[in-house]
Structure formats: structure tokens, C-alpha cells
């Protein structure tokens, strides 16, 4: 029973979504399913927040190593929640100036907006910036020409990287016009457009078929492992 009900919900919702893409009559049903998903996700968020609170509170209660950070997490969470839900500092919407809560939560002057703009965005950018270093370290370790395939990949990567820099233009600028296709910048475009696109499409076709088959397995109830291992 515990398995049958969710399975049927999934199957029906899935078919509705599928049909709504083709049959206008079911479109609104499809939208309803989408709405239901959003509602469920919103309810689940309470569970998520609960889990966050529980894990961190337990940490504080047990005085685990680094429990201070857990406290900070919870305090920040509470502050953001209060200023966001309470729309503190939010100027009222110009259309309804008498309703204090009518403004957008991250409108100018709101604390929530301020937190977003001046705390979250810079922190996020910092994390993102780390990526450059990770790319460098991964490339350094991974690009070793130890077999034919690796050599091919390495030389292709080299052409593309050079072709995207001015050095590439300078290096092969002397090539006459009739051989301009061999200029690094053109070669790099050519590789990206032809070989890369081709390879990518092969993967994408595979993925598309995979997605279709996976969806079908779930819709037909053949695959129930998403609810936990089959038996």
C-alpha cells in the first residue's frame, strides 16, 4: 500500500503531464499537476527547515565540536526568516500605500534585499570564483598524454585554447587567404562547430532516449526503485 499509492500518483501525474503537451483539452490539468507539485514542494520546505533546525539544535545540545557554527547558522536563518516574512523595511507598494506589507520583499530599502545584495551575492561570487582554480588544478592533473586518445584530446584542446587568444591569430596570421581555414582562430571555431557539436549531439540523443525510456519505465511502473530499492 505504501508503495502502491505513490506509484499510482506518479503514474497518473506523469501521464497527465505528457498528454497536456499534445492535447489542449488536458492542458489545464497539466497546469494543476504543476501547481500541486509547487504546493507539495512548499510543504516539504517546512520539513527541510525542520531538518535543518533539528540537526543544528542537536549539535548545540550535545556541544559537538564546532557547535558555535551551528548556532550562527540558526541565528542567521532566524534573522533572514523574520526580515523576509515580516518584510521589515519594505516600503509599501505605490499602488496600495496604506497596506504596509504590500511591497516586494526585496524592494529597495528592505533588510531582506540588503542581505541578498550585500551578503549573499558577494559570498556566492566568491565561491564561483574558486572555480577558476579548480579548473586549473583539474586540467593540470588530467591532461597527461599517456595514450593515443589522450594525445588527440590534448592537441585539440591546445588548438582551441590558442585559437581563442590573440596569440593564435598572430601565430597563423601569415597563412594565405586560400588556406585561411587552417588559421587557428578558424580551426578552433570549426572544431567547436563540427566535431564538438557532433559529439555533443550524440550524447544528447542518447540522453534524450534514456530520458524517454526512464520516464516510460516509471510511468509503466516497471521501475519502482525511486521509492527505495525495488523489493
Amino acid at each position: 500500500m505504501k508503495r502502491l499509492v505513490p506509484m499510482w500518483i506518479a503514474i497518473i501525474a506523469g501521464f497527465v503531464m505528457l498528454l497536456s503537451a499534445f492535447f489542449p483539452i488536458t492542458e489545464s490539468l497539466g497546469e494543476t499537476v504543476g501547481d500541486v507539485f509547487n504546493v507539495v514542494a512548499a510543504i516539504a520546505f517546512i520539513l527541510g527547515a525542520g531538518s535543518l533546525a533539528k540537526v543544528n539544535l542537536a549539535k548545540i545540545s550535545r556541544r559537538d565540536q564546532g557547535w558555535g557554527y551551528a548556532a550562527i547558522t540558526l541565528i542567521c536563518f532566524a534573522i533572514t526568516l523574520v526580515v523576509g516574512l515580516g518584510k521589515i523595511g519594505v516600503p509599501p507598494n505605490t499602488q496600495f500605500p496604506l497596506l504596509a506589507w504590500s511591497g516586494e520583499k526585496n524592494a529597495d530599502g528592505s533588510i531582506f534585499g540588503w542581505i541578498y545584495e550585500f551578503a549573499l551575492v558577494p559570498i556566492t561570487s566568491t565561491m564561483f570564483a574558486l572555480l577558476a582554480f579548480y579548473v586549473a588544478s583539474a586540467a593540470f592533473r588530467a591532461f597527461r598524454a599517456k595514450n593515443l586518445e589522450a594525445i588527440l584530446l590534448l592537441s585539440t584542446a591546445f588548438i582551441i585554447l590558442l585559437g581563442r587568444t590573440f596569440a593564435g591569430v598572430v601565430l597563423t596570421g601569415w597563412l594565405p587567404d586560400w588556406a585561411s581555414g587552417l588559421r587557428l582562430e578558424n580551426l578552433s571555431v570549426y572544431i567547436m562547430q563540427v566535431f564538438n557539436t557532433a559529439g555533443n549531439r550524440a550524447i544528447i540523443i542518447g540522453i534524450a532516449l534514456g530520458v524517454t525510456a526512464t520516464s516510460l519505465r516509471i510511468l509503466l511502473g516497471v521501475d519502482r526503485s525511486w521509492m527505495g530499492s525495488g523489493d
Binding site: K54, L57, A58, S61, R62
Partner: protein, 375 residues
């Protein structure tokens, strides 16, 4: 080679049969030297240590094993029932406490601070050892068991399945060469040791199990029938612990083969007497063969037998059984013992002997392919 031992099976009309009846672990012996016992008498009993049930309590409470001790509600030595709370967590600021419940009944033996595992020892299980044969206690091995002695008709089989059993000896067929069929078994044979002739057929075995025969003794059995009885294909001849509700014993081997006439007649002569049968067979180093003992309850014959493998030396005239095709199962006596190895049909060279078969025919077989018959 200095000596050549040839294996054989013991079939003897009268011998002093001694059997050691031992407990698996030390316990109490219930009889004393000189006591007369029947097959069913309990001669020794003890308790086996209870089963051990480990419960990972720390994991159930999601606490560190080292922190488990203060949370335990039960201590080592306490008795616990299934469902009893063993430990309770502190929870978050005193709320949301969780309990670890016992999944076993028994005594709490230990709590480990390294793994957070609690060991519960289940109740002890009683073990009893019975005398197995009617006879006299001639020795008591303190805390371990006894030796029972009786004067008995003793027959070793070649192969058996099922464990120890006893009951009145009954004869199902008319001759040693007659297959044991379904119609040979009747309801009066419930709890009896039934002796058939040649092969025990599938129908015969089925009927015997229905009726509740304690043991079936025949010359042979078909591999396929054995597989049906056991439910699997026997790979190695180490048996005795099967739970099939009947003990089967064959005296000659697999296939269509008649019981040796002498064996049949010996058993026939004692029909109606109480017999003890053990189907346990172990064909490995330390050979164990299945056996039938019929206590005769009279004066000792002098020879003492304690079971195990027997072996003897071949001489001209020694009665033998051929135990490998092409002459499998035929009986005869040694008529010549050539010293030099001979080339066999298979191309191997081996030491051989000549057997004069009961039919009068003389055949040459490898020495490895005969076994001694008789005492």
C-alpha cells in the same frame, strides 16, 4: 609395499558392541556403571549456552559508543524481554528522547564502549544424550558421557542418510534379491526398522515415510530417488544430520543391487527384536559407516567392536565383493594374487587379483576394486 590393506564392511552375527555416548559440552551423567539401559534411556544431559544476540544500541540512539554507558537503562546481568527499553538518549535539550528497545529475550551479557553493541544471551537449551542401544553401562566418563556395551548382531552398511533411530526389526520382502516396493510396506510398520531386499524403490520410500517407518534397510538405492528424498543432489558423503523423518541405509551401493544373502539372512533371523540404526556416514579421513546393531542380551562372544572402518588382508580364498564396474556388486572369493602389476582395459597399470565369482566365472580386477565381505 609391505602390506596391502583392503577395506571391508563388518557383518557379524555376534560381537560385543561398545558405543561411546558423549555430550557436546560438559554436563551431568545420569547413570552409573553397571546400570542396564534401554535405547531410549537418557544417559547424560546438559544445557548448551544460549544463543547470542548483539544489538547495536549506540546506532539506534545515534550517539557515540563512548557516551552510551550513562544512557543505559539496563545493566550487565539484567534479564530483558523483547521490547524492553535498553537505553534512552538525552534528546535535544531534554526533548525528543529516543529509546532503544531489545529485539531479544535473555540476559544482558555485556555493553561495549568501543562499538556501542549490547550482547544479549538467550536462554540455555537443554541437550540430552540417550543410550541408543539397549545394554549395560560399563564406563562413566565424568561430566562427558558413558560407554554402553551390548552383545549384538552387527551390520555395517555402505551408505546411509538420516540420524540415529531404533525400533523393532521387521522384514518386508521374501528374498535378498527382491526390490522393496510400495506394497511391501504396511501400516503395522510404523516406528519399525524395516529390512528390504535389493533396491529401495521411490514408491517404497514414499510409502515408508507416509506410514512412519523409523528406518529402511536395503541393498541399494537409485541416485535419482535419493535426490528426491533429500531435495538436493548429495555432493559429498558426509551425512547423518538430515531432517527427512526416516533413516535410510544401504548395505551394498547405488543402483540395482541385491543385499548380500548372508546379511539378509542374519537380519531375518532376528526379526521382531529391537534394533538400533544410525545412518550417519562420513567418507573422509576418519571413516564412519552407517550401522545396524541388534542387541542379543546374552553372554559376550569375546570379540569387542567399537565401530569405525575395518580392514583386512587378502589371501587366496578370502570372500570379496567387487565394488567397481564392469562387475559391480558381484561376490566371490580370491582365486589368485599375481605379484606383478597388469595392464587394465583402461591402459593403466595396477596390481590385480583374480576372483572366482559365485557363478563360477573367473575375472581379473584391480586390487583397489574389491572389498572384504564378512567378519
Amino acid at each position: 609395499m609391505a602390506k596391502a590393506y583392503t577395506p571391508g564392511l563388518k557383518v557379524t552375527a555376534r560381537t560385543t558392541y561398545r558405543v561411546r555416548r558423549l555430550l557436546p559440552v560438559p554436563g551431568d551423567v545420569r547413570v552409573k556403571v553397571g546400570d542396564s539401559v534401554s535405547a531410549e534411556t537418557v544417559v547424560a544431559e546438559t544445557f548448551l549456552e544460549g544463543d547470542v544476540f548483539p544489538i547495536k544500541v549506540a546506532g539506534m540512539l545515534s550517539v557515540n559508543p563512548a557516551e552510551l554507558m550513562p544512557l543505559m537503562l539496563k545493566r550487565a546481568g539484567d534479564t530483558v524481554q523483547v521490547g524492553d527499553a535498553l537505553a534512552r538518549s538525552k534528546g535535544i535539550f531534554g526533548m525528543m528522547k529516543t529509546e532503544a528497545k531489545s529485539t531479544a529475550t535473555g540476559t544482558l551479557e555485556s555493553v561495549s564502549e568501543s562499538t556501542g553493541m549490547v550482547i544479549i544471551r538467550g536462554a540455555k537449551t537443554p541437550v540430552q544424550v540417550r543410550a541408543y542401544v539397549a545394554g549395560k553401562i560399563i564406563e562413566v566418563i565424568a561430566n562427558e558421557g558413558v560407554v554402553v556395551e551390548t552383545d549384538a548382531l552387527f551390520v555395517q552398511g555402505i551408505f546411509g542418510v538420516g540420524g540415529e533411530t531404533w525400533g523393532p526389526l521387521m522384514i518386508a520382502g521374501k528374498s535378498h534379491a527382491e526390490d522393496l516396493l510400495e506394497e511391501h510396506i504396511n501400516a503395522s510398520m510404523k516406528g519399525a526398522i524395516v529390512v528390504g531386499g535389493a533396491r529401495m524403490t521411490a514408491g517404497g520410500i514414499r510409502r515408508a515415510r507416509e506410514v512412519g517407518v523409523a528406518a529402511l534397510i536395503c541393498g541399494g538405492i537409485d541416485d535419482a530417488d535419493l535426490r528426491d528424498v533429500l531435495g538436493y543432489d548429495l555432493g559429498v558423503a558426509v551425512t547423518g544430520s538430515e531432517k527427512i523423518g526416516i533413516t535410510l541405509l544401504v548395505t551394498e551401493g547405488f543402483g540395482d543391487i541385491a543385499m548380500a544373502k548372508r546379511t539378509f539372512q542374519l537380519l531375518l533371523a532376528h526379526a521382531g527384536k529391537m534394533a538400533s540404526v544410525n545412518g550417519a556416514t562420513q567418507i573422509r579421513a576418519g571413516v564412519m559407516r552407517p550401522e545396524i546393531a541388534v542387541p542379543l542380551g546374552q553372554a559376550s562372544s569375546g570379540e569387542i567392536f567399537t565401530g569405525g572402518a575395518t580392514a583386512g588382508i587378502l589371501n587366496i580364498g578370502t570372500p570379496v565383493r567387487i565394488i567397481r564396474d564392469p562387475h559391480f556388486g558381484l561376490l566371490g572369493s580370491v582365486s589368485a594374487l599375481p605379484e606383478q602389476p597388469a595392464v587394465l582395459g583402461s591402459g593403466s597399470k595396477a596390481r590385480v587379483l583374480e576372483v572366482a565369482l559365485e557363478s563360477g566365472q573367473r575375472v581379473i580386477v584391480p586390487r583397489a576394486n574389491v572389498e572384504l565381505v564378512g567378519d
